[in-house]
Structures are given as C-alpha cells and as structure tokens.
C-alpha cells in the first residue's frame, strides 16, 4: 500500500492551555490534530495524577499532529511559543501516512 512521509508532533501541555495551543496550531496552518487524555506524569515540577485534581488548573493533555515535513518548522514555532513559559513537552517522530492528500 502506498504511504507518504510525514512528521508526527506530540505536544504534552497543561489542559488549561489546550484551546490556546490548538488555536495557535490552526493559525500556523495545521489542518488537523487529535487530543489524547493524560492520566498523570512526573517531571521537574513533581509528580501528579488526574484522580485527585480539584482544580481545572491541574491535568495535562497530549496533542498529536500529523503534518507534511515541510510544514514542521511553522508548527514548532507555534508550539514553542506556547510551551515556552508553560509546563510542556514537544517531540517529533518520522512517520508514514496513508491518504497523503488529507494533510
């Protein structure tokens, strides 16, 4: 089956920033993304867990974005401007996709 090279960008960020991030991504020309829930985690700012958050402020989500390689830089700039002051993580992986016309 015919596949096409693409980049898979995964941005883990505080829930409270989700809308701001996705708005920035759309502005940066991203055509789609998928948001995954995150149960908990650990990092420099300590360990946390979704069960046991009273606050909307707690919690993170993971935003996955598949894009053509040539659009990577624009996306990373947009993502970086978000995670810069905030807690968050950005990873990029090479991948292949079916139906490249969709990206």
């Amino acid at each position: 089956m015919q596949t096409h090279k693409a980049k898979r960008v995964e941005i883990t960020i505080e829930s409270v920033m989700e809308t701001r991030l996705t708005t920035a991504l759309i502005k940066a020309g991203v055509t789609g993304f998928t948001v995954l829930p995150v149960l908990g985690g650990s990092g420099r700012s300590g360990q946390w867990n979704r069960e046991g958050q009273v606050s909307r402020a707690g919690g993170m989500v993971s935003v996955v974005c598949i894009i053509r390689p040539e659009r990577l830089d624009g996306l990373l700039d947009a993502a970086f401007s978000m995670v810069d002051r905030h807690i968050g993580l950005v990873t990029v992986t090479d991948c292949e996709v079916l139906r490249a016309e969709r990206f």
């Binding site: 409270v16 700012s45 979704r50 046991g52 009273v54 606050s55 909307r56 402020a57 807690i87």
Partner: protein
C-alpha cells in the same frame, strides 16, 4: 469561650468534617482510595446547582432585600482589597518573590464555594438562616481578586504579566460561576413551585453528597500536602491560618454595615476568610505560569481550607453571634 469550644467540638464531630479527616488520613497512609475524576466533578456540579437554586428560591420567598445590591458591591470591593492585604503580609512573613506572593494573594481575595457550603450547613445546624442572595455575593467575589493580583505584579513585579486577551472573559464565564449564577436565577424565577419539584433531589440528599465530596477533598488535600510539604515554610504556614481570621474581620465589618442577619454575617465572614482553589489556580496557570502552583495550591487547599472547615467557621459563628447578639 466555652460556647466557642463546644461549638468547635460539635463541628469537629459532624459527619462532613469526619469524612474530610478520613480522606486526609487515607492520603497520609498512602491508601489507594480515590474518587473518579468524573464523579468528583459531578458532585461539584450537584453542589453548585443545589446551593444556587436554593439561594434563588429563598430570594423569591423573602422578596428582594434593599441590601442586595450593596452586598454585591461590598463583595466586589473586598475581593479587590483582600489581595493587597495578603500581598503585604506575605512579603513580610515569607520569602516568596513578587510573582509567587501575588499569585497566592489572588487566591485569598477570591472565595472557596465548598467552604461556603460547609458554612451554610453549620449555620443551619445552629438553627440560623441567612439571606439567599449570599450565593450571588459568592459569585461576584470570585474574579476581582485576579485583577488585583495582576495589577500588583504590573506595579511591583517584572513586566510580562499583562492580562492576556480573552482571559477576563474566560474567568467571568467559567463553568462554576455560570452554573451557580444560572441556578440562582432559575431558583429565583421558579420560586417555591420550582423548589417543590426538585427539592427531593437538592435538599434531602445534600448532606450525604457533601460528605462524599469532602472525603474527596480530604484525599486531594492530603496528597497535595504530602508531596508539597517542602514548600511550606513556617512563615507560609502561619500566613495560611492568620489570613483567614483577618479576612473574616473585614467580612464582619461589611456584614454589620449591611445589617445582615447573624447567619448572613457568618457567610460573609466565611467568604472573606476562604481561599479559592478552583477558579484562581486555573487563571494563574494562564496569566502567571511562572508562579509555582504547589505554593498556592498547598496553602489554600492544604492549610486554609482545613483550617476554615474545622476551626474557622465555628469561630466566625461564635463571633458573629456575640456581636449581633443573634
């Protein structure tokens, strides 16, 4: 004095406090007891819905009080002023930098609706009633403190704490406020007839749901304290139990000025004494991401919330009763 102690003791042995304590203990003992996130959020929706509706129905019942508007206004003013007091205290009592101190201050200017709910339950056990619109006062006191804190930073701190576009709207329309105010208005409009229809849902089971909710709060507060006790310097700890009575005194003044009922005065005191741990932390993560969340969450949820729940509310009730002679 004896009266206060008796009251505090009775309060300490009420089911809601004991379930909060159970949650704290379970967290300290590292039990895996936990309430699913969706259930906890469901219970808080229930509490806001019930407390808002009951407040509105009570306003419908007793008629609009001339002091309603004045109460709202004083609530807003206090929510603006309290963070300034808190900020000055914090800079004196702790080594927090301007950003962290302002972030904490914002929490103490705003309010905790669960503390408010617990206080309504205590005053009704004591046979007192209160003005139904105190719920509306609670709602208007949520947000102003956030502006205050941002103003403090703009004045004393580094640049970069500008109010982000859209944030104010987000704060004013956050889910808790919309549900509380909406239920209040619907309770007001539908009055006794509406109340009759849904009373079996919002009145009878209320105390039981509150017990489970406070169990969860105990778990969360306990886990927060366990993992963040390092941030709790003696100065901060002291602030967490000294600021509430100071706030309460201002609330007392306001309540007396307005001529509220004894129950109403207690609620006003409680609002001023309580610290936010839902709306304000979320706003701070957006507006002041540099501020350390474990400082403000641990203080408001781990120190001030239990203090108010156990000692604070009975104290405010005793003082208000003594002063109003109620």
């Amino acid at each position: 004095m004896d009266g206060i102690l008796a009251l505090a003791a009775e309060n300490l042995l009420s089911p809601i406090i004991l379930f909060f304590a159970l949650g704290l203990l379970a967290a300290f003992a590292k039990s895996d007891l936990s309430i699913p996130e969706a259930i906890a959020k469901g219970m808080s929706i229930y509490l806001l819905f019930a407390i808002g509706f009951k407040g509105g129905a009570s306003v419908a019942d007793h008629g609009i009080d001339a002091t309603l508007l004045m109460s709202l206004l004083l609530g807003v003013i206090l929510s603006f002023v309290l963070p300034v007091i808190a900020f000055v205290l914090l800079r004196g009592m702790s080594r927090l930098d301007v950003t962290d101190a302002a972030a904490v201050a914002a929490h103490y200017g705003s309010i905790s609706i669960v503390t408010f709910v617990a206080a309504t339950s205590v005053i009704s056990s004591a046979g007192l009633t209160s003005e139904g619109y105190m719920v509306a006062v609670a709602a208007v006191m949520e947000a102003p403190a956030i502006l205050s804190a941002l103003w403090i930073i703009a004045r004393y701190g580094k640049a970069g704490a500008a109010m982000e576009e859209g944030l104010m709207r987000e704060i004013l329309l956050n889910g808790s406020i919309v549900l509380l105010v909406g239920s209040f208005l619907i309770g007001w409009v539908t009055g006794a007839e509406g109340m009759d229809r849904i009373a079996p849902f919002i009145v009878a089971p209320f105390q039981g749901v509150l017990c489970l909710f406070l169990l969860d709060m105990g778990l969360v507060a306990g886990r927060g304290l366990r993992s963040a006790r390092a941030v709790l310097t003696p100065g901060l700890l002291l602030f967490g139990v000294v600021m509430p009575p100071i706030g309460a005194m201002l609330g007392l003044g306001a309540g007396l000025m307005l001529g509220l009922s004894t129950g109403g005065v207690v609620l006003f005191m409680t609002l001023c004494a309580s610290a936010s741990y839902i709306a304000v932390p979320a706003a701070m993560r957006v507006a002041l991401p540099e501020a350390n969340p474990s400082v403000y969450l641990t203080l408001s949820l781990g120190v001030t919330f239990p203090f108010n729940l156990t000692l604070g509310i009975p104290l405010y009730l005793a003082v208000a009763s003594a002063v109003t002679g109620g």
